[in-house]
Symmetry: C2
Subunit: 164 residues, 2 copies
């Protein structure tokens, strides 16, 4: 049994999202290139920069708590990244692909929202108030990105796709 | 290019979540057995019943729109189910495992929230108002389940785990 305490679980969850963020930072340039809508392309580029900041924030949490992350690969994000690749292969560049990319990106955001939500709750129980403050900043960013993607879906991309 | 129109994308997304729900309905009895907290066990049992209703709702959407689902396996849910199995292996039965199960279940709920959110938006653009009504019912259920899990995390399970 590798996970015995709530702190072990916190470290496990933090290691998982660290892997997820790293995978996402590799996938985002591909997603940006695959988009046709310039607003969507810009959103992916902006989120890449944000993701790099979120990785640095995890590094800060690690330093703050003097813990060591485990080397694990987040299997769920592997699946999400794989689905993103499949979409790019299955749909030609244009408004339908843009709608698919937005849907895929929202699944990623929701994975991260759930993950940071759990980390904030575990951190609160463990009394890690400074770490929770940092994790809440990331959680707010992920929620804002999800809302931005919803607006993009509602406004431009999908309407254009329905006409196509 | 297998997906050309917004309707193709809608069918693809619906096929994906159909696979996800089927995988989840297989995983939920295992999650219920793995839980120690009786409230959490009951929540998983209730969600299994709900999931079966959600699968039937997808069948209704398929009938309504006279479409045919594709046989695909949702890779992201495969990853999420795999992570659930790993947690059960890595953590002994008790409050820490319960906290881990809640976190994992919330990732699943958020995957489904993102997926049904996209389906509702695509359906709206395509003028599928009756189908969207059904999909919105499921979306509301997934959000309610997520909130129930948050309450369980805040109230009992994690606090007990911090004491352990």
């Amino acid at each position: 049994m590798a996970i015995k305490t709530l702190q072990d679980l916190f470290i496990h969850e933090l290691s998982d999202i660290y892997s997820a963020e790293k995978q996402m930072s590799k996938a985002l340039p591909r997603l940006a290139r695959a988009a046709e809508n310039p607003d969507l392309e810009a959103a992916f580029a902006a989120h890449l920069e944000e993701t790099q900041g979120q990785i640095e924030r995890i590094d800060k949490v690690v330093d703050l708590l003097d813990i060591k992350l485990k080397r694990i690969k987040c299997a769920a994000m592997e699946g999400l990244v794989e689905e993103g690749k499949e979409v790019i292969e299955a749909v030609a560049k244009g408004p339908v692909r843009d709608a698919a990319l937005i849907g895929g990106a929202q699944k990623v955001e929701h994975y991260e929202i759930a993950s940071y939500g759990t980390l904030c709750e575990l951190g609160k129980q463990l009394g890690y108030s400074d770490a929770v403050k940092l994790l809440k900043e990331t959680l707010a960013e992920e929620k804002a990105t999800d809302e931005k993607l919803t607006m993009l879906a509602e406004s431009g991309a999908n309407a254009k796709a329905a006409e196509a």
